[in-house]
Symmetry: D2
């Protein structure tokens, strides 16, 4: 993806000529756009090169809409692992369709992609303001979800095939890991960091409660370690934070842990589930039987730490905590509740205005439209040379470089 592609127009189903039933005066115009660059240097380089500044289409209600509310049918689907705020989003969409646009037919497809697959025969559920009234007080998704192939065009084909209607597809990126580019933050992320804090406290209490106590916490984060990094910053008790973006070797990490343990008698380690995957691969290469147990960096580290300290003749008490399900199933915190509400409203506004093949984003405190191909073109990851990771290093006190063999540094 080139940054200039941001300036491409969002795909539209057709011309908007239905007047919006929303109150006049609060509308966003198609000229309203949100700057991509946040720093002067980037903007000036662009200007100096004679290029137009890259920007996102701003989200919000339009004065003219594409669909006739009285004839429109809408469907909602939730896919992938559960994430705090899913029910808030469902609720916001239903309420906005109902009260802002007077759309009365809203369906919820059951169990993610299965719900629109001909193979399964799940009946969609009807959604209305009464049904969704209190759903945001519960975690998870009332529609259910499932993992598996989620090919947007196939989904559209399936629906289209049945009904031969023009269909707009508007997404709200659901990733608790906060790893979507062109989005300042994804919903549920903050709630997840909040819910991780008591688990790290628990690891700290356990670690302090035993001589040479070690608390090891595995958190979500397959490709990006944002949850682990923010949780480490939010909880000053973390001594090591291991994330997918920053490689480490056991030859360096284990002695560093030993040294830290000698200094302070206890240790707290936070590891993102996607960290150290190269180490697991190396081991699975050694062990041709394809032992599933080694697919899990948490269990792998637990065993490697125990084995190393046993070799070193040091008794230690390691407590391993894997709280992912407990974290991701909590209801949204108030900040995420508001965020989900406005993401849901803006998704409805975009859909009513005939936008399609896009997701609602959030950038520089503004809600935006992001084409799906751009949103998925690259994953957002922690910059090893950026301020966030430096702050984690400063806060944990861990060595900046945990790679190489043991004779190093």
């Amino acid at each position: 993806m080139k940054i200039e592609d941001l300036n491409l127009e969002i795909e539209k189903l057709g011309r908007c000529n239905v007047p919006s039933p929303m109150t006049k005066g609060q509308f966003v115009s198609d000229e309203d756009r949100v700057l991509y660059y946040a720093t002067l240097k980037e903007a000036e380089t662009c200007i100096d090169a004679g290029r137009s500044l890259p920007s996102f289409e701003m989200a919000g209600p339009r004065e003219k809409i594409y669909f006739d509310p009285s004839k429109l049918k809408c469907g909602i689907i939730t896919c992938g692992g559960i994430c705090p705020g899913l029910n808030d989003v469902i609720r916001a969409i239903v309420l906005s369709l109902h009260y802002h646009y007077h759309v009365n037919t809203v369906f919820g497809f059951r169990y993610g992609y299965e719900g629109i697959s001909p193979r399964h025969q799940h009946t969609p559920v009807e959604l209305n303001p009464k049904i969704v009234a209190d759903i945001h007080e519960k975690g998870g998704t009332i529609l259910g979800s499932s993992r598996g192939p989620q090919d947007v065009s196939e989904m559209v084909d399936t629906l289209d095939g049945r009904r031969s209607l023009k269909i707009g597809v508007v997404g709200i990126p659901k990733t608790i890991d906060n790893d979507i580019s062109f989005l300042d933050q994804s919903f549920g992320f903050e709630t997840a960091v909040s819910a991780a804090r008591p688990c790290i406290y628990a690891a700290h209490v356990e670690a302090k409660g035993a001589r040479n106590g070690v608390g090891l916490v595995k958190l979500m984060g397959r490709e990006s370690g944002f949850i682990s990094a923010y949780a480490a910053l939010a909880t000053s008790d973390v001594n090591f934070c291991l994330v997918p973006e920053i490689p480490f070797t056991l030859e360096r990490f284990l002695p560093a842990l030993k040294e830290q343990l000698e200094r302070s008698d206890h240790s707290v380690i936070v590891v993102a589930e996607g960290a150290g995957q190269d180490l697991l691969n190396r081991d699975s290469a050694c062990d041709a039987s394809g032992n599933l147990r080694f697919g899990d960096i948490g269990l792998f580290l637990r065993d490697e730490i125990k084995a190393y300290f046993q070799r070193e003749g040091v008794e230690l008490q390691l407590k391993y905590i894997d709280p992912s399900y407990v974290i991701r199933s909590v209801p949204a915190n108030p900040k995420d509740s508001v965020f989900c509400l406005l993401l849901g409203h803006n998704a409805v506004h975009a859909g009513m205005a005939g936008r399609t093949n896009m997701v609602v984003g959030y950038w520089d405190s503004e809600y935006t439209h992001v084409p799906i191909p751009i949103a998925v073109s690259e994953r957002k990851r922690i910059d090893p040379d950026g301020r966030l990771w430096s702050s984690v290093i400063e806060s944990t006190g861990q060595p900046r470089d945990l790679t190489g063999s043991s004779d190093k540094g």
Copy 2:
């Protein structure tokens, strides 16, 4: 242990002839005793047989004490796994010794029994009101703990050998499982049940979020399933509660699970860590390699459920949650804070009055003195024919009998 033994006197170090520095008028006399029986029938049987009613010595400050506060040295030790309220208890003892009795020398031994073992050379920490001021706001124990042999007489010998002083030993039973006989409740138990609730909610959210979703939660409870039973009652979402006291067979449990899943599309199972140990033994008998993995009923059930449904050709989504460390490391809830405060005060009162070889109990809303041999003579367990277990059966809807082979009922 015979019930009549309750009436035996609590062991005393000697005659109490030091006047208590506490305020006059609030003292408990040695004639104050708490009835063991709560029901009329038991009491009348006893009276009709001409036996005296069994009773506990009542705890509380005595008018005359045994130790001279100005010469006394006290030590505190915390043993075994951590439990909510340990720091509350430590704090209550220090404050009571300091403010009620003006005892100025209080030590804390580090890491449980290790702290008074000559093999380890941990220096005891000094404890005073300033040091313990806020410790109750944190989980765990500031002294650290350890598992291992905890022979009271050896402990006394060790201390005695060094100092040739009269030593009184007063305990406060620490068991998050609430499995001490002659104690209505042990501290930390209620906090643990409270902390288990969000974990069961998480299991429920996960289970509802997937087609044929199953949430499996393992809770503490080696010999007694009180935490699991109360957590099940406190959270109406539990479909099966499995505890050590009530045996079950896979041949009956798995089909019952399947049937329940067919009715309601999702299932929540709570299992105490000590449940179904006979099943594990059977398996470990089959597998002579002593596979540690099978020591864990949670992982065992997870694998057996998955295997069974695969054999049955039913897709299911099982999420396994093992939240023990997160539960036991939380600070005491307000109820347990008060309970720990008063247990700690009463332990100090007992010790100052020269009682030894006893623990502080709680019975019929009164604090009591219980001889250690009686307290440990038998474990408190759920009565399979009692009202508590009936309430669990009624609340979960699970079959009362989950034993036998599959052809049964």
Copy 3:
């Protein structure tokens, strides 16, 4: 009320000859009774005098019941101020009637006593398992409540007059203040104490954050100060706890506050709403206009403290917190959830067995039947000479005697 009256039989509507649909073997017999006395001395005095030991009828399911479930109609009513656990109780009653006894007609009367008054014309709502499924997750009462005259016999007359049926009335005492005699504890009390803790923390934070900071918190407790006493014990930051049972004078309290403030720079005061009513009366005697503002001990103390320190020339920062509505509206904590569940079940069992004019109690860890005249005969109050109040005095450090004029002590 004489203690012997406890042994009187609970009023019954008639002979029980309908077989209970509940599972055999878990039944309570009419001979099962719970001892009133908890201490040996009381029991022995009674035995020596040749009197039978006073006891309560034990609650629980009976083998034979009075009502035919297929013809029975039940109504639920919630009266007075809201209290944590009301929805848990409603839910438990509906579920027990439905699943234990197959009673299908259950009504909820709206807004307390108004709901069965001919003056108001509220339509009762139908209650069934689906409607009550999740109500326990919310505070308050789904039925609504109201204050006002709640004469049981008038209620029965009203219902009876309309329908000329035999009507049993079984209550569950609802008092957040925990002030019912013959009940170890009332539901919602523990949740209230828990919810009070953050408010006292807030008062402490505010007090510490200012020079001569004073945090003044008013808590519930009209006749009995149990919430204030337990909240003070649960939160070691309280310096003064004022309750209705222990009189105090401004002439003694204000100088004691000044002295404490001089020692520690900040102060936290917890006052039960019913404390110091004689002071308010004295003032209202002075001020014949019946100034409503002086009906409130919290506002009264706030103003008196400010005025006193101004007279004394001491600057102080007083923050007044009145969190009653925030406390009483929270959902029940897990302990109270279980308690409400079992209270509800036992109320249903009692009602089905034809008991009437009684409430369900809890005594010595057993659920009991208590005749309404006995339950309301006297209020449970803190004993100024008992261990609870001594513990409060010890924990706060406040002078035991805060009465008299200033020249004293």
Copy 4:
């Protein structure tokens, strides 16, 4: 203030020629600047006019610093009302000075501005990593605070006068109301919105629990209603949200409330403390006695609502909740903890680099330097025509216009 003024340089004490002890490679250069404009239109207008894009200096560690850490003395002061996160900020500053820059002398001034006033004689407290280790777990400020004149130049004069040293003053804006311009958000704001949610729930529970129940909650917000607006969005139960930026009249509001109450039987009203000040002034004009009671919009509304409904002959149950102290005294939530940590670090970086007369800001996900005169030049307020307020209107369902006399629409 003109937007162009943003481009003015931040005031500096002198030339930076001391090498930073921080790790190389993570430094921010003085050319790093953060764009003020977030939308394309604004940027293009500026470019078209030939003006340079307004921008903020970016915060962060500099390669060369101004102060010699070995000779530097630092002081921290907390002023005004308490706010979640103050202790996090104090802690972050102390840790950064100590570990990043090896500055060993850090003082904390007591009770805000009083602490550096010659009139009061508070001794500053020494701050070091051990003292601040756990302070972020408590609300409030360990230094204490006070209100009163906070003239930066006078503060500098006082310190300067004593010591004739170059003094840099770097602030971190503390306003729970989130009302600072040129700051996307102020610390503690999100925590406050979170802490407001249970209070609004309480109001809702109370309102639903009574016939014609009204829950009225007063929240913080003197000049700006952000807390009320976000709390209303975070809690779908709010029916009216009244903020300082949007005027209303009783003639319109009270009938609108009555109408809404007729529709749904209960009502929840959130009012910011600064809302409707013109109504209070009008009344105080009427009532020349300067009745203090009318300085409080919450009490004023409570009384006006009661009086209106009495005149209308409608019984209603109004519960008034004023939770400000309970909200502002909670510890920071995890998001605010991280935010405070990084604000604190960046304040230290700015100070070490010789910046003065500035505050640390946060803009477009970047930390910035903002000159104090600009930061205080105008208050950030809710735009009555913007999306935020529209969302509030849509979420509450309240009429957009609540002004005018009653005969209007």
